[in-house]
C-alpha cells in the first residue's frame, strides 16, 4: 500500500494531523483500538492470575471490561476525527457482543 507523503498534508491543525493516517488506511485507528483491546484484556487477565485474592480468573470478564474501555476511548477519538463514524459503530457493536457474552455467562 502506497500512502501520500506528509507534504500533501493541508490541514495543519491537531485534528488534521491526527486524522491524516485515515486518508491512507480507513481502519488505521480501528486496528490500533483492536490491538489495544487485546493487550488490555491480557493485562487484566494476567493481573488476575497473579492476584491471590482472585480465585478463578475469567478471560470473558476481562474482555468485557476491556471492551467498555475501548468503546469509551474510541468515543473520545471521534471528537478529533481519528476514528471514523463507520469504524466507531463497528467498535461499539463488537464491544457490545463481548459485554453481552460476559453478562450472559455471569
Amino acid at each position: 500500500m502506497v500512502c501520500n507523503g506528509l507534504e500533501t498534508l493541508t490541514d495543519n491543525t491537531i485534528k488534521g494531523i491526527l486524522s491524516f493516517p485515515t486518508s491512507c488506511d480507513y481502519y488505521f485507528y480501528g486496528k490500533i483500538m483492536g490491538a489495544f483491546f487485546i493487550i488490555l484484556s491480557f493485562i487484566l487477565y494476567y493481573r488476575d492470575r497473579t492476584d491471590k485474592l482472585v480465585l478463578k480468573p475469567d478471560m470473558l470478564s476481562c474482555m468485557g471490561v476491556s471492551a467498555i474501555a475501548t468503546m469509551i476511548i474510541s468515543l473520545f477519538m471521534t471528537f478529533l476525527n481519528m476514528v471514523q463514524p463507520d469504524v466507531f459503530i463497528e467498535i461499539i457493536v463488537v464491544g457490545m457482543i463481548f459485554v453481552s457474552i460476559w453478562l450472559i455467562k455471569k
Partner: protein, 142 residues
C-alpha cells in the same frame, strides 16, 4: 434447568447497558459537536428508540402484571395452588426478552454481516430456553 427469571434479568441488564452506552455516546457527541455523530445512522437511531421504548415500558407492564396477580383468587389443584396470572406474566415478559434480542441482533446482521444461519441457531436456542424456563415456572412456580 433453564431459569426464566435469570434469563430475563440478564437480558434486561444487557438492554440497560446497551441503552446506557448509546445514550452516553449520543449525548457526548452532541455536546462536543462531532462532525458525523452516530445518531445520524438510521439503524442506530431506530435501535436506540426501540431500546428506550422496551425498557421504558417495563415498569407499566410489571405493574399491570402485579395488579393481575394480586387480583386473582388462588384455586387449589392436585398438590398445588393454581394461579393463571403467572401465565400472563410469562407471556408479557418473554416478549420483552425476544424484543431486546431482536433489536440488538439487527445491529450484528447489518454492521457485521452476521450469517442468517447463525442468527437462526441463536434464536432457536433462546426460544427453547424461554419455553423450558416458562414451563418450569408454570409447573413449579419458579
Amino acid at each position: 434447568m433453564a431459569s426464566f427469571f435469570e434469563l430475563f434479568v440478564k437480558f434486561m441488564f444487557i438492554g440497560l447497558i446497551s441503552f446506557s452506552l448509546f445514550a452516553f455516546t449520543i449525548t457526548t457527541q452532541e455536546e462536543n459537536n462531532v462532525d458525523n455523530p452516530i445518531i445520524e445512522n438510521s439503524l442506530i437511531e431506530s435501535t436506540y428508540s426501540s431500546l428506550s421504548e422496551d425498557l421504558g415500558g417495563l415498569r407499566d407492564k410489571g405493574q399491570a402484571q402485579k395488579t393481575l396477580f394480586e387480583s386473582e383468587n388462588p384455586t387449589s389443584g392436585f398438590g398445588t395452588i393454581l394461579l393463571f396470572s403467572i401465565v400472563s406474566a410469562g407471556k408479557v415478559f418473554n416478549g420483552m426478552v425476544i424484543g431486546i434480542f431482536n433489536t440488538l441482533i439487527k445491529l450484528l446482521i447489518v454492521f457485521l454481516g452476521l450469517d442468517p444461519i447463525i442468527v437462526s441457531v441463536i434464536s432457536t436456542l433462546l426460544i427453547l430456553t424461554i419455553i423450558v424456563g416458562l414451563w418450569s415456572i408454570y409447573k413449579l412456580g419458579g
